[in-house]
């Protein structure tokens, strides 16, 4: 792999000239990533397989025209079972440290909030960072509408959802996102965040307020713009014992089909306000002297809406309390819900059995994890199969075993397996049966 890299570098040198390239501090490489998932839902007399296969072959390059400027880019060929051929620009950005305390990044790069649960997504935009002695301030604005749909994790409205099966839609939902974050590093880690998100879909693609009929031909829903205000604190309680806590308040407006005495149907569409919450606490305890062990306990709460008929834009009351994150997150191996009317408890223990050895096995990490899920309130969640007439809040539990192995710096492997044991009273049909999930991921660079 290093030989391939050297060959690519030599080829580039011959094209660009040694002097020019060396002056730019240029580096180039490639990556190959695979994700193979095999969930199986088991019922008496039947089994439902839903395999998922995703591969990415990418090339990346970085250069440093000066000590204050760096440019990075990566593009990839992506294969999935649904879209077998996709060329994507993964990122392309320039970072310029204009002053010792001020840097700017422009282009395509990852935007994330301090939790990664509200926003963690590639966007096209601009970011400013001001560093000061006890922390930093970050301001950023990004746009999602130029990201290709198959690689987008932004799914906030019914129209976003409908676009997934619309072959004439190639780009992700057009949203403008602004973020301001402040980090203080002493005495504890304190994060403050304000995130604004505007839905930029044109009105012609949306059901308009006042529409009296619930089903409108060719249209799926309305626009969804949201605001988030967050606070996070983390630090050390005792040697090797750390805590973290965070809370977000979210507001916005969501299209709702509400009673209307003036309507021929008795109902009409209106925009109702959203008031939602996201919060979490966690503890981590490290026992490095015992096989590099770590114990983690985490609880995350996201508010739901008992008066909703669906997870996305299903509100039927004067206001909605469903928490909707901007970008989706992967939780679990067999059962993969999104935040919103979800309480998740996570207890995990990991160790490196051969962490002290000098062989490649020192980079093997084994983890046992138990995830328990509850609804915050009766009402829908992101996953299908919920029993609409059930008042059960407990959804189920998923024990998992995960192995992370990185024998060499340019090769890594993840094996994950889990069994989701649902609460039969909360689900209906095949969703009430256990689901076994297995996942293989490998990553190579060259």
């Amino acid at each position: 792999m290093k030989a391939l890299r050297a060959l690519a570098f030599a080829f580039l040198l011959s094209l660009l000239g040694t002097a020019a390239v060396s002056a730019l501090d240029f580096d180039i490489g490639g990556t190959l990533d695979d994700y193979s998932s095999f969930p199986v839902t088991v019922a008496p007399g039947s089994a439902i397989f839903a395999p998922d296969q995703r591969d990415r072959l990418g090339i990346w390059a970085t250069m440093h025209p000066s000590s204050a400027v760096s440019i990075a880019g990566a593009a990839s060929y992506n294969f999935t079972l649904v879209v077998p051929f996709l060329i994507n620009l993964d990122y392309l950005n320039m970072n310029w440290r204009m002053l010792p305390w001020l840097s700017t990044t422009v282009g395509r790069f990852t935007f994330a909030d301090f939790t990664g649960l509200v926003l963690n997504h590639t966007l096209d935009g601009l970011m400013l960072e001001q560093d000061f002695s006890i922390g930093k301030v970050t301001e950023a604005v990004g746009y999602s509408g130029l990201i290709l749909k198959p690689v987008s994790l932004i799914l906030m409205s019914s129209t976003d959802s409908a676009d997934q099966t619309n072959s004439s839609v190639y780009l992700a939902a057009p949203r403008l996102i602004e973020k301001v974050e402040v980090l203080f590093t002493v005495p504890l880690n304190i994060n403050l965040a304000v995130i604004l998100q505007q839905d930029l879909r044109p009105g012609s693609q949306l059901i308009q307020p006042g529409e009296q009929y619930q089903t409108v031909s060719g249209l799926e829903g309305g626009s969804l713009s949201t605001e988030y205000l967050g606070l996070g604190v983390s630090g050390s309680i005792a040697p090797s014992l750390y805590f973290n806590g965070f809370a977000y308040g979210s507001m916005g407006s969501t299209l709702s089909y509400l009673p209307d005495s003036g309507s021929v149907t008795g109902f009409s569409y209106k925009y109702a306000p959203m008031y939602a919450l996201l919060g979490g606490v966690g503890l981590k305890y490290y026992i490095e002297q015992t096989l590099f062990s770590r114990i983690e306990l985490q609880a995350i709460y996201s508010s739901g809406n008992a008066n909703a008929t669906s997870y996305l834009e299903g509100n039927t009351s004067s206001y909605s309390t469903m928490f909707i994150p901007i970008s989706q997150e992967v939780i679990g191996v067999a059962f993969m819900p999104q935040l919103g009317n979800l309480i998740m408890l996570n207890l995990n223990y990991s160790l490196k059995p051969w962490g002290q050895s000098d062989t490649v096995w020192k980079n093997l990490q084994l983890m046992a994890k138990v995830l328990s899920y509850f609804r915050s309130t009766t009402g829908p969640i992101s996953q299908p199969g919920l029993n609409a007439s059930s008042s059960a809040l407990y959804l189920g539990t998923e024990p998992e075993i995960i192995a992370n192995f990185r024998p060499y710096s340019d090769f890594g492997l993840v094996l994950s397996t889990g069994v989701f044991l649902p609460n039969g009273a909360a689900f209906t049909g095949s969703a009430a049966n256990p689901t076994i999930g297995a996942r293989i991921e490998f990553s190579m660079s060259f």
Partner: protein
Amino acid sequence: MKASIIVTLAALMLAPAAFSQSQVVLKESTGKVEVKAPRGGWTPAAVGARLDMGASISTGFSSTALLDLGTSTIRVAPLTRMQIVDLVARQGSVSTSLFLTVGRVHAEVKKAEGLRQSFVLRSPQATAAVRGTEFDFDGLTINVVNGVVQFSNALGQYRDVPAGEGSSTNGTETPTTGDQNADGQVVVVPYTSPTGGGVLPTGQQQPATVTITWQ
């Protein structure tokens, strides 16, 4: 005229007592240890050698050195090069400044009653400033054994690192928290791309399902 000469002479005689430069003594060495005077070349160092301000010390493979700075000791690990930038003892205070070019050192800074200490250990990427503490530092990462270390990056952003914790920086990144640093020891990241991520699954467009039934 006579009076001014006497005052000047007195001042010159008294000055060393109020403001004296300390020396660093090589207490132990194993393997290949060399020292370089401010205006000299590299020469092998013997136990008992004294290093002045501006001097540098270098260790080879499987070689270590123990330096006594009076109020602090530095154990220099193999393949390390460090310079003594400043070592000044004033009345009631000691100021020590070292520059770690490459490698790793273990420093123990003793607390002394009535003595104010300023101990600063710098690398190209980070700075560790301590008072009465013990820690390991390799230029990028610090692990504190006793006391509290103010650990800052090249931009001046700092974090106080207490005993039992560590922190690291690449120079421009904010110094990591203790749990972030500990994760670097216990967590294996299997993804090799420069961004650290793998192939992200999406919630969109689920592939078709296959149902198998049997009697």
